[in-house]
Amino acid sequence: MEILIILIISAAVAIYIALPFFLKSGDQGNDFPVMSGVKTTAEKLKSLDNQKEALYSAIRDIDFDYSLGKLSKEDYEELKSKYKLEAASVLQEMDQPQKQSGARGPDYELEQEISSYRKTDNMIEDKNIEEEISAFRSASNKRKKENKCSKCGSEYSSEDMFCSKCGAKLN
């Protein structure tokens, strides 16, 4: 009797473990992640999005801390403008690959996914942050357009002293 039970248990366990070899499901092979250092566009976007989220959360944090009186006004403004700057540059970068690969690449789904995630949490606060940052971005873009080398016309950033293209002194 007991031997029978043992046999049944052993057989059941063996079948259960072997099952995946016979049941080749849809998730087989193709979506098994590639183990290499090269980042796909999707991965890059994902990590950029992570950075964006991180910056948003940092901004949310300092907003909350400021409203709790944990930060002085100067500190708050300094930190906030720093993170806004970072966020703006991350958003800039995120726009670029999308333009190259067109709106409906493999990234399209990812974007959908991300935005659906994002819809669920912290919507109201993020909306405010988003507005602030886009205002900030358009302002800095405008400034950037004005920052053109007087000699060769290439763009430069505000902290440069010499033009990176032609080497002319900037003012």
Binding site: E2, I3, I5, I6, I9, S10, V13, Y16, I17, A18, L19, P20, F21, K24, D27, Q28, G29, D31, F32, P33, M35, S47, D49, N50, Q51, K52, E53, A54, L55, S57, A58, D61, I62, F64, D65, S67, L68, G69, K70, L71, S72, E74, D75, L79, K82, Y83, E86, Y117, R118, K119, T120, D121, N122
Partner: protein, 669 residues
């Protein structure tokens, strides 16, 4: 049943090896079906170990004395509930339980994340399988719970009476779930090292599982303390015994880990530190199991001893070498993304918290192994006792409590001096006020004064946090209750953590009061005589004896008066267990405890004489109840912190949101 049990353990051993091989092979060659098969294997191991455990419990309940384990741990006079709990009274049974708990964790991990993080998971599984292999090997080949005796005795030896206690029934189980639980965050760390995916995922999972293990360890320690308090009869709850230290050390390291993990999540810093911490925590958990199981360090209550010591040492050495080897191999991938901005910031408060927790763990570790160490170095065994542990840990604990108050109100990244003054003014005033009031009440003990002042300070900061957060939300038009509930539910980690801190404060208050202000008195009383004890009077009304199936009990009847008023009757007992088996302990002192929030009256019948007189030992332990209440608050806070968000979609969103937090690439200026 017993054959089924031992075969199940053997099968579980074989399959665990298969799980290890198949998951690594599958991950390296990207053959997904192998990984799937390994995952099924992990679940099969769980099922097999459940079968084995059921088989052993079945034998224990039915007192199958042909099994050595049953004969050594039960007897015919044992109640059914204690027949079941004797599953963890002895060596082999405890180890079976260890394996079972680990397989439960493994199965949960597999079921929860088999479709996520496919790079990471196979290696996590492989790590869990490796640990399983070791422990299942021990119960399959060395300490088998299904070992047969060459004969069938008529009666078993029975369970030690001091283990026949409701707390003893759940305390080891809780502690085990905690000990074994540490394996899971460690496995995620190792998974990250092995797969090279050292980004967001492992730390997220590790944090969650470390919290689970931390909670169980903490609650297990408190249950053990309560058991010792009620059952051992010396009036205390903590003696710095090696077995207690064994669970305390991983708890300390895990506390450090769950704090420093936050910095990695928020700021991308301390990656190497966190990885080392989780390896260390796991080492301490295994080392703790080793201490309790091998009996290498003599302890008054290491209940199980055997010769599996060298095997354990080998395993510990392997774990340390392998994990730190992998750590060094991947060290370049663990570069920090940020640097510290200011010493007056939450990050640095956490750093100091970590160093102190590790310092405490180191001190406890050193004290615990000191006899071995000194014998190896000087040739003579030298002990350090409770005074050592108290002397080292009390100052560390006081600074930690201070940091516990500072942490919540100090800001991330950078805090200005002006704001520090503004934020900490009320809590500091509260602390000073406490000192003044206590001095006025005549308290003179400096350490106690500091401890109580710090407790008031921490309570002040935590309430300030709750109050201000609620007020900010109320300004957005929510009513008080809604604002409060949303505040907590929107940031469960933060506010659950604060509730845990309040629990710790309550425990600290209880420990301080009950260790500094004990009143103790012993007297031999004839019938009708009384003894006085700080406002209480105890009148001895004579001895009484009764007999049950299991024991002969002698009861001392005492009437308690407070300020002349009769308030209670108290009946400490001394029991002689009838069973004349071969267990060494047949005598048990039953403590009579009258417990209020103010103090515990702890009364022991330490002896009685033929002339009807009795020797009564009475103690007043102030505020011990606060420790247990603190434990409940701690549990509440921990549950809030761990509690997942409501619906699935929300959970996903929440998880993603957390992931992103750690990838901060903000460069510090």
């Amino acid at each position: 049943m017993t054959e089924t049990g031992s075969i199940s353990i053997f099968l579980a051993f074989i399959i665990s090896i298969y799980v290890l091989v198949a998951s690594i092979y599958g991950a390296r060659t990207r053959k997904w079906d192998f990984v799937r098969s390994a995952e099924n294997g992990a679940i099969a191991v769980f099922v097999l170990l459940v079968i084995a455990t059921i088989a052993l419990v079945h034998s224990l309940i039915n007192l199958d004395f042909s099994l050595k384990y049953v004969a050594l741990n039960t007897s015919t006079d044992l109640a059914t509930i204690y027949r079941i709990t004797s599953l963890w009274a002895g060596q082999a049974g405890s180890l079976l339980l260890w394996c079972l708990v680990l397989s439960v964790y493994t199965a949960i991990v597999v079921l929860q994340s088999r479709n996520k993080d496919r790079q990471l998971m196979p290696y996590v599984l492989a790590t869990l399988a490796t640990v399983s292999i070791f422990f299942i090997f021990v119960i399959a080949f060395i300490e088998s719970p299904f070992e047969k005796l060459p004969f069938i005795p008529k009666e078993g030896r029975g369970l030690n009476p001091i283990l026949q206690n409701a707390y003893m029934a759940i305390h080891p189980l809780t502690l085990y779930v905690g000990y074994v639980g540490v394996t899971v965050p460690f496995a995620f760390g190792m998974g990250a090292l092995l797969s090279g995916k050292l980004g967001d995922e492992w730390i997220r999972y590790s944090r969650k599982w470390a919290l689970v293990a931390w909670t169980f360890l903490g609650i297990g320690l408190l249950l053990g303390a309560r058991w010792a308090y009620l059952e051992l009869g010396w009036g205390g709850y903590w003696a710095w015994d090696p077995v207690e230290n064994a669970a305390f050390m991983p708890w300390l390291a895990a506390t450090a880990f769950i704090h420093s993990v936050m910095i990695q999540e928020k700021r991308g810093m301390l990656k190497k530190w966190n990885m080392s911490l989780i390896i260390l925590t796991f080492f301490l958990a295994i080392f703790g199991t080793f201490i309790t199981r091998s009996g290498i360090i003599s302890s008054v209550h290491s209940f199980a001893q055997s010769d599996i010591g060298p095997l354990f040492l080998g395993f510990i050495a392997f774990i340390l070498l392998f994990s730190f080897g992998m750590f060094l191999y991947r060290i370049n991938d663990l570069e920090t993304e940020n640097s510290f901005e200011s010493i007056l910031s939450r990050e640095s408060a956490f750093i100091f918290n970590n160093l102190l927790f590790l310092g405490a763990a180191f001190a406890v570790f050193l004290g615990t192994i000191f006899p071995i160490l000194s014998e190896a170095v000087t040739g003579s065994k030298i002990l350090v006792g409770s005074p050592y542990f108290n002397r080292v840990n009390v100052p560390i604990a006081l600074v930690l409590i201070f940091l516990m108050g500072v942490g919540p109100l100090i800001s991330w990244r950078k805090a200005s001096f002006k704001n520090l003054v503004k934020n900490f003014l009320i809590p500091i005033l509260l602390g000073i006020l406490t000192v003044i009031v206590l001095l006025a009440l005549g308290m003179k003990d400096v350490k106690a004064l500091i401890a109580f002042a710090l407790c008031a300070f921490v309570t002040g900061t935590v309430f300030t946090e709750f109050f201000r957060g609620t007020r900010v939300r109320m300004k957005r038009g929510e009513n008080f209750l809604m604002a409060f509930m949303r505040l907590v539910s929107r940031n469960k980690r933060r506010y659950g953590g604060y509730i845990v801190h309040i629990g710790i404060v309550l425990i600290v208050i209880g420990v301080t009061a009950s260790s500094v202000f004990v009143t103790e008195k012993q007297a031999t009383l004839n019938k009708g005589e009384s003894m006085e004890l700080r406002g209480y009077t105890l009148r001895f009304d004579g001895l009484e004896q009764y007999t049950t199936d299991a024991k002969n009990a002698t009861v001392a009847n005492l009437t308690l008066f407070e300020d002349g008023r009769e308030i209670d009757t108290i009946t400490p007992e001394k029991n002689i267990y009838k069973y004349e088996g071969n267990r060494e302990i047949n005598q048990e002192t039953e403590v009579a405890l009258r417990s209020t929030y103010k103090d515990d009256l702890y009364i022991i019948l330490s002896g009685f004489n033929e002339d009807g007189s009795a020797t009564i030992r009475a103690m007043i332990n102030p505020m011990v109840n606060w420790i247990w209440i603190g434990g409940l608050v701690l549990l509440l806070g921990a549950v809030i912190t761990i509690w997942p968000s409501g619906t699935k979609s929300r959970q996903e969103a929440f998880v993603r949101y957390t992931v992103s937090e750690k990838d901060t690439t903000v460069k510090a200026s």
